[in-house]
Amino acid sequence: MLEALLRIIALTRKELLAVLKDRRSRMSLLVPAIVQGLVFGYAATYDLNHVPYAVLDQDRSAASRQLLAGLDGSGVFERVADLRSPRDIQSYIDERRVLLVVQIKQDFERKLQQGQGTDVQVIADGRNSNTAATASSYVTAVVGAFNDNWRRDHGLSPQVLTSTDRAWYNPNLETRWNMIPGLIGTLAMIQTLMLTAMSVAREREQGTFDQLLVTPFRPFEIMAGKALPSMLVGITQAAGVFLVAQLWFRIPFAGSIVTLFSGLVMFLLAAIGIGLLLSAVAATMQQAMLFSLLFIMPFSLLSGLTTPVSNMPSVLQYFTAINPLRYAIDIARRVYLEGVGLPLLTHDLWPLALIAAVTLSAASWMFGNRIT
């Protein structure tokens, strides 16, 4: 037992030495994760803060000016043009000079003063319909504020029914708040899985695997000695992205670090299990890389990172059951933003444990039996 443990430690030490020795490979473990955390933290947001728009104000009244002032003062909308005729709308949108055009009809103020309802037209560029819909909803909010002001200024009672909205865990509903915790698991997985998948394939390709097999190492020990360094690397990367979220983006952390990292360890174990299984199957490093690519891509696209799992057709939702990243993203977001404890995470943890158990034992069996 002690012998086995010492051998596992020796292998772990060797793996870490090989990875950390070279400055370049040391950098390649941490820098891409942190840089991607930073860049994607900024880039991967559905929130808009620069919406170029054009106005076709056919009313040119105090009321229309007041409404437009509301848009211009929102800090989100940037007016790039005042259109003269409805004919201009098409070219502005087609040529992507504006994301949307606000059209105010001629009798806008008159209708309002007569106490009738009226409307503003918002014509949005639907080439990215998600962005367009988000921008339109911003317009709706500005118009709502305009309504309230108008009614108050004109001595009208406000709307009968209003709502007070409050968002749990993310008061300003910033996408960044849930994107970056999701990145903790995603970025850690990409390199961990590849590293693990290639580590055995590399030994096989360079002939060192045979050299290992003629020593007293047992298959289980080799596997453990490969899994441990990958785990350390994965945890380090996750910690790096976590620090970016905390120190750079200053997203408040609601949970406990112990809970978060317990969940991540379980997740990495599942990812490493998959990596080891791939490396047991792959004959060359190239194959190992391809296999891991074929897994990483659907894993990250179907994880709920960019689009919600609940939006997927049910067939694909079943597929996500074997996707460890899906659980990891859920864990990371819930612990990070909601501050839940381990008991509420059981429905994420047991599938991860199951994936880890199945892949690790399969990989161990393959190492033992595929010695050719």
Binding site: L11, K21, Q206, V214, P216, R218
Partner: protein
């Protein structure tokens, strides 16, 4: 292509050629240091020299793939650096590892090169059958190049370079890792082209018998030309200094040979057909400790012998590289003295891969402290046998006992008694020498002061201390091999497995290697080795010749030589014997198939 005064110009002329490489974060390497020579037209010119002599760099310069730092290089009358494309249009070049497209078939590879060289359909119709006949690749035309054996790949590479008649053929170590049969076939192809078509060939080689067969020889050493001329000029260097000693009964040629190497007046000694062949020094070396050759040869009958090319070559190298005389090795505690105990027992061993039988009912025994050689052409089943002996591959059927344990059932416990050195360098290239040793010591369960002592032993015995903190992947070839041996001996195994340990190594490194092996065997370590160098079979106590998965002959080297039953009058060399035995068996196999 005659120049104005009518003399046949040399095909390749170098004048004071220099080339230096600067690897990142390591000292620069002066690959060529003022090389000047001429390669004459219409004959075979050989570049010989130890590892790192600059042979490959010279080849690449001649092919226009590298730029010289200074000096002149003209090929076919053209300055290579000025117009490399013209050279590349006119010559053919076969790199050390010919870049065959492994996922193309034999025919597709040849077609590709024929297309690139613009060979017309008529010329192909005439040329292809001859290439196929020469290389014997005809039956494998539609086989993927990746599925060919090493020797066949080399022949295919050669065929690709010969799709048209080049004005100059460059061959960079064409026979490395190729078994004697394929080697002889490759040579016949090249010789035939030189003799019948007046092809000009420049080839580099580590095999001295190949250099001997060339018309012109250039000896390179550390980027400098040591000598050039006809092979006989080199051979003559050792004239009157070569002797053969007939040993009295009971003396082992290998042991006497290794003792002779320590004597100050001996520069080279090899076991040769039960006798010892040695070369006396021009003047005694000051560094050696012994009292003279006579001392080591008490009771032996010494007579003068005709020098060979190798003798001249070794004399030449000793002039500049006096220091490194093969070092010996001593174990911490020698194993039990040599006795008749069988440590490796193989009986009726079979290994099948699907329908293919790679190892077909083989049997042999190896005694403690013996050196056992496993010889055979590429694809004979040597490596499969080897992998089964080391527990890397389960046997399909048969009995296999290593150090008393049944390998089939107790792989882990048997492994603690054996050491294994793979054919390719297979330690961790990114780790330093010290880190590699440390890892393998731990892997074998050594710890504490015992571990420290063993690592110190390995560093000292294999003279690795100076390189302890260099990444092992960047060591020179000889050091890599020593490190691999050191790692395999850390746990003091009873049996050492060596898979083609000297493939691609130069004569100096091979001498050093066998010196250590001899010493290990003396101290009770059992050694099992595979090799392509037939002269090295002379170091073995017993050898087995394998082909097509079967053992064709097994016994002491002299017995094997007699088994060959060669009618020629002269004493058959081990290589002749090997080829005769394998070819006879293949003929019988064919006739059996015909009969069935």
């Amino acid at each position: 292509m005659k120049n104005t005064n009518g003399a046949v110009p040399a095909v390749l002329v170098t004048r004071d050629l220099h080339k230096r490489f600067q690897p990142p974060r390591l000292p620069a390497v002066q690959a060529l240091d003022g090389v000047s020579f001429e390669a004459p037209r219409g004959m075979l010119t050989a570049l010989v020299g130890p590892d790192g002599a600059g042979k490959t760099t010279l080849m690449r310069l001649a092919a226009g793939l590298l730029h010289a730092d200074s000096g002149e290089l003209t090929v076919l009358g053209v300055d290579v650096s000025a117009d490399p494309q013209q050279i590349q249009d006119r010559i053919s070049y076969m790199p050390q590892r010919f870049g065959l497209y492994e996922d193309l078939t034999v025919a597709e590879n040849i077609d590709l090169y024929a297309d690139l060289h613009g060979v017309s359909p008529e010329a192909r119709a005439e040329r292809y059958p001859r290439l196929m006949e020469m290389t014997a690749l005809g039956p494998f035309k539609s086989r993927l190049a990746g599925k060919l054996s090493g020797g066949m790949k080399q022949k295919l590479g050669l065929a690709c370079t010969l799709v048209r008649s080049p004005e100059l053929l460059l061959l960079d170590e064409p026979t490395v890792g190729v078994d004697p049969l394929s080697r002889r076939e490759l040579w016949e192809i090249v010789r035939q082209l030189v003799d019948t078509q007046g092809l000009t060939v420049l080839l580099s080689t580590a095999y001295l018998d190949e250099a001997e067969r060339c018309g012109h020889v250039i000896v390179l050493h550390q980027g400098k030309v040591l000598a050039q001329g006809q092979p006989s000029d080199i051979t003559d260097i050792a004239r009157n200094r070569v002797f053969v000693a007939e040993l009295p009964a009971g003396q082992n040629a290998r042991v006497v040979q290794s003792r002779l190497l320590d004597e100050p007046d001996v520069i080279d000694a090899v076991p040769d057909a039960g006798r010892v062949r040695f070369v006396r020094a021009e003047r005694p070396r000051a560094t050696a400790a012994g009292a003279g050759a006579a001392n080591a040869l008490v009771g032996a009958q010494v007579s003068a012998a005709t020098p060979r090319f190798e003798d001249g070559f070794m004399s030449l190298l000793r002039r500049v590289a006096d220091q490194e005389h093969a070092s010996t090795i001593s174990l911490d505690r020698p194993l039990a003295a040599r006795d008749d105990e069988v440590v490796v027992h193989v009986h009726d061993l079979v290994r099948k891969f699907g329908a293919f039988t790679a190892v077909d009912h083989i049997s042999f025994d190896v005694h403690r402290g013996a050196i056992f050689g496993l010889l055979g052409p590429n694809g004979a089943g040597k490596t499969t046998t080897f992998r089964m002996l080391c527990g890397l591959l389960p046997a399909t059927d048969g009995e296999l006992r290593v150090a008393g344990a049944d390998v089939r059932h107790a792989r882990a416990s048997a492994r603690a008694h054996l050491g294994y050195v793979a054919q390719k360098f297979s330690l961790y290239g990114a780790l330093t020498v010290a880190e590699n040793l440390d890892f393998f010591a731990s892997a074998y369960g050594l710890r504490g002061s015992r571990k420290g002592a063993r690592i110190a032993w390995a560093m000292e015995q294999f003279e690795l201390a100076a390189h302890a903190h260099e990444p092992s992947g960047q060591l020179p070839g000889g050091y890599k091999q020593r490190l691999a041996m050191a790692a395999a001996l850390l746990h003091e195994p009873e049996i050492l497995f060596l898979d083609e340990p000297t493939s691609g190594a130069d004569p100096l490194a091979r001498r050093a290697f066998w010196r250590r092996i001899t010493a290990l065997a003396e101290q009770g370590v059992t050694i099992i080795v595979t090799t392509h160098f037939m002269q090295e079979a002379e170091y073995c106590d017993r050898i087995a010749i394998m082909d097509a998965g079967r053992v064709l002959a097994e016994g002491r080297p002299e017995e094997i030589r007699h088994m060959a039953d060669l009618s020629e009058a002269h004493e058959p060399s081990m290589e002749d014997a090997f080829i005769a035995i394998v070819e006879r068996s293949r003929r019988n196999g064919q006739s059996r198939e015909v009969a069935a």
